[in-house]
């Protein structure tokens, strides 16, 4: 894959430690706008750490990272609001309703409240919009979290196993928002080689925080991904 002069994501030697443990070690990868990077790796390989660094929620301890052309060390404030994060936690208040949560995020992002209704309708949550989040099933919470992540129409989507907990109908409902046809630059973590590679342009494999695989997704086989988990 050729790398554009101004990649949407440009990581060079990114390192992050938690105390004595190195969670990410010298990771370098670049991704063109509108393309998808899928990140594989066993639990604890550094996938979620990578996403949190890109989301400006974690600082790096080494290397440089640019998102949409902005250095995350000095210009992270220019990136916030242009990225959407869908992680393991839905980032929704359990005692508020789905609608209250999304309206809260809409106000923070200065998004018209009509967008909330539009998204609720799109993911099939309109009938449960006034239910408190803690009363919903995990699948419904995940649909609400998808709405939260794309509410402000981000250019970059950071997706940590985004289809976990979703049944086929729900997965289909959120596909236009977080799938390849959304047109966004996407970084996805996955444990599903076939599904992950099918929707990606570039594949990154992490093992113990280090890059064990970096290749165009079309050139990567399920067996190569399987090697990461050994």
């Amino acid at each position: 894959m050729t790398v554009d002069a101004t990649p949407a994501i440009d990581l060079r030697g990114v390192t992050r430690r938690y105390g004595d443990r190195t969670a990410l070690d010298d990771v370098t990868v670049a991704l063109e706008p509108g393309r998808t990077l899928v990140v594989f790796g066993p639990n604890g390989a550094g996938k979620s750490t990578l996403l949190r660094i890109l989301a400006t929620l974690l600082r790096m301890h080494g290397g440089t990272a640019k998102v949409l052309g902005h250095d995350l060390k000095s210009e992270d404030w220019k990136v916030r609001g242009r990225i959407g994060l869908l992680g393991h936690e839905p980032l929704l208040y359990r005692d508020l309703t789905v609608r209250e949560n999304l309206r809260f995020h809409a106000r923070l992002h200065d998004v018209p409240l009509a967008r909330v209704e539009e998204l609720l309708d799109e993911v099939g949550l309109i009938a449960r919009a006034d239910d408190q989040v803690h009363t919903l099933s995990r699948g419904l919470v995940q649909r609400a979290a998808v709405c939260r992540a794309v509410l402000h129409d981000p250019e970059v989507l950071l997706l940590d196993e985004p289809r976990a907990n979703l049944d086929p109908n729900a997965a289909a409902a959120v596909e236009p928002l977080i799938g390849p046809e959304s047109g966004r630059t996407r970084i996805i973590t996955s444990h599903d080689p076939a599904g992950g590679l099918a929707e990606a342009d570039l594949a990154l494999g992490l093992r113990a925080g280090r890059t064990a695989l970096l290749a165009p997704a079309a050139d990567v086989t399920a067996a190569m991904i399987g090697e990461l988990y050994r």
Binding site: R80, G81, R82, L85, G87, Y93, D95, F104
Partner: protein, 225 residues
């Protein structure tokens, strides 16, 4: 900034109305403590410095409950991360939380002050005394809210937050208790209201200003990982 503060305040109000925790907890603690003082001191009436001490120590300890809970929901339910992802000034969270804490204290005092008067003060307060006491309460509450927000944001990052909160907040709030107790003691005498000591009001106002500016300057760093 105003938009973000407004959004955060709406959220705080909705959460406290939906599952009331902080205000009932602080109010009940205050009332129970005044009952304990009532029986512990074996007096129906306290006056002057003793009355002011009982009033302010109770308010301060009740505030610890609110400070300890101030950021817990945000921490446990991802509210911090969601806020940090938004393109807003991070100080908005400090402002919104300090306003929330001030409001909690004011609402608790609507219940706690009458309980204090009935259980410990005896003759009650005249309208003029009450107005003067409200001025002291307002200045002290601002100080408690500002320092409480700073300490709450720091403590919630630690596992031992319930321990850290009073250990950090109480020493920092000693000047508030001194100032508020000295300012309110003349209002709580059995012989009738004395004059409000302006010197202690100035001390409280200066404390609010200094810690307000300090908290405003450092709050961003508390939200860093």
């Amino acid at each position: 900034m105003r938009r973000a503060v407004g959004a955060l305040l709406r959220k705080e109000a909705a959460l406290e109305l939906r599952t009331p925790q902080v205000i009932p907890g602080m109010a009940l603690f205050s009332i129970v403590t005044y009952v304990v003082f009532h029986f512990g001191l074996r007096r129906n009436q306290v006056s002057g410095d003793l009355a002011a001490g009982v009033l302010w120590v109770t308010i301060l300890f009740a505030a610890m409950l609110g400070i300890a809970r101030l950021f817990v929901t945000d921490r446990e339910e991802g509210g911090f991360d969601a806020f940090l992802l938004a393109p807003v000034d991070r100080t908005a969270m400090f402002v919104a939380k300090a306003i929330s804490m001030f409001t909690y204290l004011a609402l608790v005092q609507v219940v706690a002050i009458p309980a204090f008067v009935v259980l410990l003060l005896g003759p009650g307060l005249s309208g003029e005394e009450l107005l003067k006491l409200m001025a002291v309460l307002a200045l002290a509450d601002i100080g408690i809210a500002v320092v409480g927000t700073l300490v709450g944001a720091l403590a919630v990052q630690t596992r031992a937050r319930d321990l850290i909160t009073p250990l950090l907040a109480l020493p920092l709030l000693v000047p508030v208790v001194i100032g508020a107790a000295r300012a309110s003691a003349p209002l709580l005498t059995l012989t009738g209201a004395g004059t409000l000591p302006g010197r202690w009001l100035v001390v409280l106002a200066l404390y609010d200003l200094v810690f307000g500016l300090l908290a405003y300057a450092v709050f961003d760093f508390l939200l860093e990982d």
